[in-house]
């Protein structure tokens, strides 16, 4: 039996299934009678579709039907969380490498694949917009048809889909002793969950049932209801635990396609993407950030003047929110007297970018922290000192008029510095770097849950958080166990079925501990009130004389266990206590982001590297992350998430980038040439430290976590390399080749200049 209390590392609920292979992910679900889908994709970037000939495919044994754009209605139905821009399937034009032009349905996977192979598509490659410069070039073709944009959008004849301006104060009036002006680039990377996306749809009861590896089942439910013209109650989403999400499985992708095909055929239909197809389906929004930062001689940050260009894909998905939410904090976690920030969301003929752990903050942090280090070097100030000087203290504003800093951020910085041995002697070729990152949590949303205390005192919690590895099941069970005083083994959790489970806005923005956790505690407290009330009524006692503490009801010195109470109040006819809990954040009308963040996720990363100056190769000697979490309801879960985030951060810092050729095709498509960190890429020494000051809005003072560990990875390691080598690199990833190029010219001789950049990658 495990100790149920908050703050204990109770064993993962659902862990045994994962470790024995019993866990059913979406692709493991076998519906009888299911048909299989294979997508037809072309080996090109942007192209005009001239003709699709499915006759040969139709002759193949086992092929049921081939669907193309014309099968979905005119006008083509479109969807998307921000703009309804994404078609069910490519219509008239391939908008990015991998945009599916046809869906072949067969009685087996092999048949469908053979069918897809036999579909002949006539197409003509068109000039495409593949880079930030392409998108900003007024002569480039338009990615989005102006008629599909708002008529009063002044930008509709450009590839700027949306722009934002943030700021306060008057940047131009400030005299700075030192101005740093630089450009930073963050590459195109992809989520690479080990579970490829999977979708199943089946007609059901006058509506449709969909199984999807989706992180936000209720958003999917609403989207499908609108597109299929069904009441929400007739759309049932089954959401098996995703095998990794990281934001890439947040918003609908191929569910509308699969649902429409299932309804058209009157049979269940299944689509499981290949890994390559997932690379083509989702990615992080890459960016180019030009920052001009003004500092006083003592290191005080006076102003930030920035232009941030984010390259979204062919469809906006949730990327506009990624951009607005991250660039809004233009000075990061620092106090600045004035800020002027322009952010642009550019569309391109590339994979639609979507949410990805960190939600824009890794990109902005790369720039903001690199600037801070540039200032430190220019002014001769220590990297920790300059940050201590500028970090907002608890209660100080980081954006004028908005939620102030809600943690002791300097404490995290000091801990990280201490852990990495900041200031100690370094052997030759070694360097240290430190950086901080900030991400704002959810600004609005709602979580509901239902709690049932069954007549033997065991409990069922019905809650819609998606457990994709972060341990939602465990901590929600812990909260119930601790609040009611029921052992964890007697609590069952029902998740993942919108027909049964009440509304949860999303599993994102590190919000679930706070929002759903609070809803769960709310439900427990209501259940307790109900239980005690009925007990009093049964015994004719005044409520004031009866006390509840976890596991028991006490009156006049005698205590009764919950099962005893239930037996009392329900007598011969069994019953149960049912309570609904909720937590809503309404947001604030008129606020640029819909409302202030519920809390800030603040993280610090400190790194030590050892560089081989001849080859550019370097070893990560030490890597420290410090997470300000308020309260760790399950410390082990929080640590494993933070470590995991740190490792993921090593990905875009050291090795990950999607490489496009001139025709916009992804060259390194697949696991062979898109490298993510492995066991052997771990730092020699890695540590994750949790700071628990009980200063969050969630149960026990919890904040959310899980994104912090990858916010500041890049600038910390880049700063360490700078210290070791004297070169400054402003493009990611920091591959051995890039470091070598920064250090050497083409003849292999060591460069003489202090601060140089390697050859820029294409602005992809």
């Amino acid at each position: 039996m495990s100790d149920p209390g908050s703050g204990t590392s109770a064993r993962r609920v659902g862990g045994a299934d994962r470790v024995t292979g019993a866990q059913r992910f979406t692709a493991d679900i076998a519906l009888g009678d299911v048909l299989h889908v294979a997508l037809v994709r072309l080996d090109c970037g942007r192209a005009a579709i001239e003709a699709i000939d499915a006759s040969a495919a139709g002759e193949i044994d086992g092929i049921v039907r081939v669907f193309t754009a014309k099968d979905f209605g005119d006008p083509m139905p479109r969807f998307g969380p921000r703009f309804a821009d994404r078609p069910v399937i490519a219509s008239g034009e391939v908008k990015y490498h991998g945009d599916p032009v046809a869906a072949v349905v067969g009685t087996s996977r092999e048949a469908a694949a053979r069918g897809a192979d036999a579909v002949e598509v006539g197409f003509v490659e068109l000039p495409g917009v593949y880079t930030i410069d392409d998108a900003l070039d007024p002569n480039s073709s338009l990615v989005v048809d102006p008629n599909l944009r708002e008529p009063d959008d002044p930008l509709r004849h450009t590839n700027v889909r949306q722009r934002w301006e943030w700021g306060w104060g008057d940047v131009d009036s400030i005299e700075a002793d030192h101005v740093i002006e630089e450009t930073y680039r963050f590459p195109m990377v992809t989520h690479f969950s080990i579970e490829p996306h999977a979708f199943i749809a089946a007609p059901e009861a006058g509506g449709v049932a969909v199984w999807s590896s989706i992180q936000h089942p209720y958003i999917l439910q609403r989207t499908l209801a609108q597109m299929l013209d069904l009441p929400i109650s007739k759309v049932r989403i089954h959401a098996p635990d995703p095998g990794g999400g990281f934001g890439g499985k947040g918003y609908p992708k191929y569910e509308p396609l699969v649902a429409m095909m299932a309804l058209a055929l009157g049979r269940p239909v299944r689509l499981v993407l290949s890994l390559e197809e997932t690379f083509q389906a989702v990615r992080r929004t890459n960016a180019r950030l030009r920052l001009r930062s003004g500092f006083a001689a003592d290191g005080e940050l006076l102003f930030v003047d920035s232009v941030a260009d984010f390259l979204m894909g062919a469809y906006a998905d949730i990327a506009p929110r990624v951009i607005s939410k991250s660039t809004y904090y233009a000075a990061g976690p620092y106090k600045a007297r004035a800020v002027r920030a322009l952010a642009r969301g550019l569309v391109s003929h590339t994979t639609p970018s979507t949410a990805f752990r960190g939600f824009g903050a890794p990109q902005t942090t790369w720039a903001i922290e690199s600037q801070m280090d540039a200032a430190a070097r220019a002014l001769g100030i220590d990297g920790v000192e300059i940050r201590l000087r500028n970090l907002a203290g608890r209660g100080e504003e980081i954006v004028v008029g908005d939620r102030p800093a809600d943690g002791d951020w300097r404490q995290s910085l000091r801990i990280a510095a201490d852990e990495v041995g900041w200031g100690e002697m370094l052997p030759p070729g070694h360097g240290r770097g430190i950086a901080v990152g900030l991400k704002a949590s959810a600004t609005a949303g709602a979580s509901y849950c239902i709690l049932r205390i069954l007549h033997d005192g065991s409990v069922v919690l019905i809650a819609g958080t998606s457990d994709m590895g972060q341990g939602a099941r465990t901590i929600l069970t812990q909260l119930v166990s601790e609040t009611l005083g029921v052992p964890m083994e007697r609590v069952s959790l029902v998740m993942g079925d919108t027909a049964v489970v009440p509304f949860d806005y999303s599993t994102s923005a590190s919000r679930s501990t706070v929002f759903m956790g609070s809803a769960v505690v709310d439900a427990c407290q209501k259940a307790i009130t109900d239980l005690v009330g009925r007990f009093c009524e049964h015994h004719g006692l005044p409520v004031e004389e009866v006390r509840f503490s976890p596991g028991e009801v006490t009156v006049a010195g005698t205590s009764h266990t919950i099962p005893q109470v239930l037996k009392d109040i329900f007598g011969g006819v069994p019953g149960e206590i049912i309570a609904a809990g909720s937590q809503r954040g309404e947001g604030v009308a008129g606020h640029p982001l819909g409302g202030p963040a519920a809390f800030y996720e603040f993280s610090c990363t400190a790194s030590e590297v050892a560089v081989d100056l001849d080859t550019g190769d370097f070893e990560l000697v030490k890597h420290i992350t410090v997470a300000d979490v308020g309260k760790a309801i399950n410390p082990q879960h929080v640590e494993m998430q933070d470590e995991g985030a740190a490792v993921m951060g090593l990905g875009h810092t050291l090795m990950e980038h999607l490489i496009l050729d001139e025709q916009g095709r992804i060259v390194n498509l697949g696991a062979l040439d898109y490298r993510i960190p492995t066991f052997k890429d771990l730092p020699t020494s890695m540590k994750s430290v949790l700071v628990e000051n009980g200063d969050g809005p969630g149960p026990g003072g919890a904040k959310g976590s899980g994104e912090g560990g990858l916010l500041a990875t890049s600038p910390a390691i880049a700063a360490a390399i700078s210290q070791a080598t004297g070169v400054v690199i402003r493009d990611l990833p920091l591959t051995p080749e890039r470091v070598w190029q920064a250090l050497h010219n083409a003849e292999g001789e060591l460069r003489e200049e202090e601060t140089t950049e390697g050859k820029h990658s294409e602005d992809q």
Binding site: A38, L39, V40, R41, L42, D43, C44, R109, E110, A113, R114, A116, D117, A118, V119, E120, V121, G122, F123, V124, E125, S274, E276, D614, T615, L654, M655, I659, V667, N668, L669, G670, L672, D673, R675, P677, T678, F679, K680, D681, T735, P736, E737, W740, Q741, H744, A746, G748
Partner: protein, 286 residues
């Protein structure tokens, strides 16, 4: 311009055979669009990616003339065509005589890959970046090629013809690889450059063998259309000119893994380091 579907669609229909004799294997391989299957770690990927669409697959793993042994035979070590990489890494004979080969075999893929991938298959796949090729070239290895009617032994240096291409005829297989046992003690080393510390294909790989006479033999990979071999002496390699002449046989290109400049630079740096290691080994042995 048309396109008949997705290039990396997996499946295709084919016949599968598992002959137990070389004669039968050779006859099957002579059929139209037939390919040999050993470990499958290259072939199945190629089929999935639509680079190969065979009609007939001939599984060589039961062919009795293709041996499964690592043994000393006279003045050379013979490695059977069926021997997998993990056997090489665990073989005392290989560690004793050709430690650089054990090392090269240990970086081919992962444990799972090494349990299936054969040394012979790695050579027949003829990737310019094959990790075992530079070592074998530096050790003057030969391959025994057998068909229906003939068997011949070919120096490895003459085996590779181009990227993915060898001198193997359509109905021929490699039945074994032979490495001459060094007549004297030697020093050897293996080096490679990758994009990450984890499992990766090499951007550059190389091996060198040094004899007490001062003769040096290098094998280079991923810096030309095939794995390459070059010879020099320690005296030559005491000068920059000597290094230029040694490396002149290579022609690195830029691709998704690395740029030509970087390859060129890494090739020289790692070659020099490998030579130092090999020489140290030789000195220690004396």
């Amino acid at each position: 311009m048309t396109d008949s579907g997705d290039p990396d669609r997996r499946t295709t229909d084919f016949e599968y055979h598992r002959p137990d004799s070389l004669a039968e294997a050779s006859e099957l391989l002579g059929r139209d669009n037939a390919v040999a299957l050993a470990g499958g770690t290259d072939l199945l990927v190629a089929i999935r990616r639509r680079k190969r669409r065979p009609a007939v697959i001939v599984d060589l793993k039961s062919v009795r003339e293709i041996g499964d042994d690592i043994e000393v035979e006279g003045d050379h070590l013979r490695i059977g065509g069926r021997v997998v990489m993990s056997r090489l890494t665990r073989s005392e004979l290989v560690s004793a005589h050709f430690p650089a080969l054990a090392l090269a075999a240990s970086v081919v893929g992962s444990v799972q890959i090494r349990n299936r991938a054969t040394l012979a298959g790695n050579l027949c796949n003829a990737s310019p970046a094959a990790d075992t090729a530079p070592v074998l070239l530096a050790h003057s290895a030969t391959v025994t090629i057998s068909g229906s009617y003939s068997t011949q032994r070919v120096p490895l240096g003459g085996f590779f013809v181009g990227p993915g291409a060898t001198v193997l005829g359509p109905a021929e297989v490699v039945t074994s690889i032979e490495i001459p046992l060094p007549a004297t003690r030697i020093g050897s080393a293996f080096g490679r450059v990758t994009r990450r510390r984890g499992v990766d294909l090499a951007s550059v790989n190389l091996a060198c063998v040094v004899e007490p006479s001062g003769k040096v033999r290098f094998g280079f990979g991923a810096v030309g259309p095939t794995p390459l071999v070059a010879e020099a002496t320690l005296a030559d390699l005491a000068t920059d000119d000597g290094w230029s002449r040694l490396l002149a046989v290579t022609s690195p290109i830029s691709d998704v893994r690395a740029s030509a400049d970087y390859r060129r630079a890494m090739l020289e740096i790692h070659s020099r380091r490998a030579l130092r290691t090999a020489v140290e080994q030789l000195d220690v042995a004396s």
